[in-house]
């Protein structure tokens, strides 16, 4: 995983609450057995006017001109702004893969669904929550300023606007540590292999029926 330090990027405003994972990446794309290649189908049903199918050529699809992502001014956006409960719904990590493939590195919202929030960190994306009034202010500012960019610094846990206003955000220290260093969580856990074995032995003594093999 790429280490995450700072991102300064164009902000794509998705002015909705409860953006669900079905909207982020519709089910037909979950049939893929690969971990990449989802970017062209991010927000597929909002982004295109025709029905999308896996493996289809995207260049001749019918673009929805009214969907914000298709506006030229947001091309190359690396920061996504939304409202509360972003990423609600299914556990599909494909939603994060689609955002990642598209080029999104930071998602700012007033709140996130738990599973989606966790999935982001496993893929080098930073989901960060800011208060509702700040989110309101940011949506307003973007509307009036084409090319609006935000600078997000994970180390100092701050978001800086073009006029220099700074907002701080919270992030759990372990998640931050993994993200900043681009660490593989499985490697980290396997460093505790001995503790896991010891726990397992004790657990099995207490509740042997939990260790009946599924066969």
């Amino acid at each position: 995983m790429e280490p995450f330090r700072t991102v300064k990027g164009i902000v794509l405003p998705i002015d909705r609450s409860n953006v669900d994972t079905d909207a982020i990446i519709p089910k037909q794309y979950l049939k893929s057995v690969a971990r990449s290649g989802f970017g062209a189908n991010l927000f597929d049903e909002w982004r295109y006017l025709d029905q999308g199918e896996p493996g289809q050529e995207h260049s001749n699809r019918s673009i929805n001109p009214n969907f914000v992502l298709n506006e030229k001014r947001y091309t190359g956006a690396e920061v996504l702004l939304a409202r509360k409960n972003f990423g609600c719904g299914s556990s599909r990590e494909h939603a994060v893969w689609a955002l990642h493939d598209y080029g999104v590195k930071v998602i700012i919202a007033s709140s996130f669904a738990d599973i989606f929030f966790n999935n982001c960190f496993k893929n080098g994306l930073l989901p960060l929550a800011l208060p509702d009034d700040v989110i309101d202010t940011l949506f307003g500012a973007i509307k009036n300023e084409p090319g609006y960019m935000l600078e997000v610094d994970l180390e100092s846990q701050s978001v800086v606007t073009p006029d220099g206003t700074q907002y701080s955000f919270d992030v759990e220290s372990f998640k931050k540590y993994c993200l900043v260093n681009g660490l593989d969580e499985i490697d980290l856990t396997l460093q505790h292999k001995k503790e896991i074995s010891e726990f397992e032995a004790l657990h099995k003594r207490k509740m042997p029926w939990l260790f009946t093999d599924i066969s």
Binding site: D15, R16, S17, N18, D22, A23, P26, K27, Q28, L30, K31, S32, V33, R35, E45, G55, R83, K84, N85, C88, G89, S90, S91, R92, E93, H94, V96, S111, F112, A113, D114, I115, N118, N119, K122, E172, F174, K175, E185, I186, L188, T189, L190, H192, K193, E195, I196, F199, E200, H203, K206, M207, P208, W209, L210, F211, T212, D213, I214, S215
Partner: protein, 471 residues
Amino acid sequence: MSGKTLYDKLWDSHVVREEDDGTSLIYIDRHLIHEVTSPQAFAGLKEAGRVPHRVGANLAVADHNVPTTDRSEGISDPVSRLQVTTLDQNCKEFGITEYDMNDPRQGIVHVIGPEQGATLPGMTIVCGDSHTTTHGAFGALSFGIGTSEVEHVLATQCLVSRKMRSMRITIEGELRTGVGAKDLILAIIGEIGTSGGTGYAIEFAGSVVRELSMEARMTLCNMTIEAGARCGIVAVDRSTIGYLKNRTYAPKGKEWIKAQELWSDYVSDKDAVFDQEIRLDGKTISPQVTWGTSPEMVIPIDGEIPDPQSQSDETRREGWARALEYMGLESGTPISEVKVDKVFIGSCTNGRIEDLRVAAQVARGHRVASNVSLAMVVPGSGLVKRQAEAEGLDAVFTRAGFEWREPGCSMCLAMNADRLEIGERCASTSNRNFEGRQGRGGRTHLVSPALAAAAAVAGHFIDPADLEDKS
């Protein structure tokens, strides 16, 4: 010091180690696997040269992509087929037990776990599927995970996690006749909203919950995720133990006796303190129907489509207006006047035998209305299907004009061939009414099995009590 909540007990008994900031390594007892969220995890495992830590902790099944029609020819969609055969190959390679598409025990992962006794009290249970909440009905700590975590569990039998806050939702009194667990959970979501439970582990308690059957408790816990909570739990009692006795993977003999003793402690202590408490009166809950594109957009069967202008918050007002437009509905219309095109009875929410019994009871002697182009019943598993057939429920359904299908997730998320066309309206016993969930442009109304069956025969939403009795 106050006592422990059930969640505290489940959490504490699985912590392998804890960092200073509260980040913990927790041990996972059971890992359920399906074809959609696992291929990349197995690929990652192989790439890193790793093997599953404890093969026997895993149970796999193909459920999302499988056809619900005749399976003798296999899966016609090559993309779906590849995903299912990839699961078959991965399980074979690593020695993981899989109930493949033609196994009589095959079914929706959250139906077969409990059915096989692979779900037990006191366990930590995970699956790359948000509706893993279902297993909390057994006093287990169960939650959905992403694919990276699927790989993490395979490789280490652990997960990196942090303790959630605790919420108790107590429903006292009793439910009115015709009101079931689906109505209860929809009413709860309507009350607390789809992010009301975010960051919480929710325990359901009170006389109403104690009176619910295990299958009804599964329905309740299943949709906890739609209230934003990753896990929902119910304390262990005699119903729990009665359900599990003699199940394939449940303990037997002396272990069964010992397990029961231990399980009796999987309840919240009397003096336990929750971070949040919510109380509801069971008598006030009516049969529910969702009208919009989020499960919190829900009204009673005798209600009217609400007016977005009644909402003071601007974002909420716009969300409601967009939902009404998508759903093709107008404020003020009684929901009972809304006609349906299709009916889906099934899913991990409502695809168990009790659900099918309730639906069959309503459908018995009636005919599916002429404006309903498809009413389908999809059992949650092969064993549910067999049981239903032994009781003659399949005949009740088919005589009434319903289609009787093979088990799987089916039109809950339309990854197989079962789906809505643009603009079609569906009464569905599933769990999500998001835009496009059951097919692009499809309009989903979440209801109980009783209401779905009633909508099929009336052609519009109706309280089953208002149907003419033909049984």
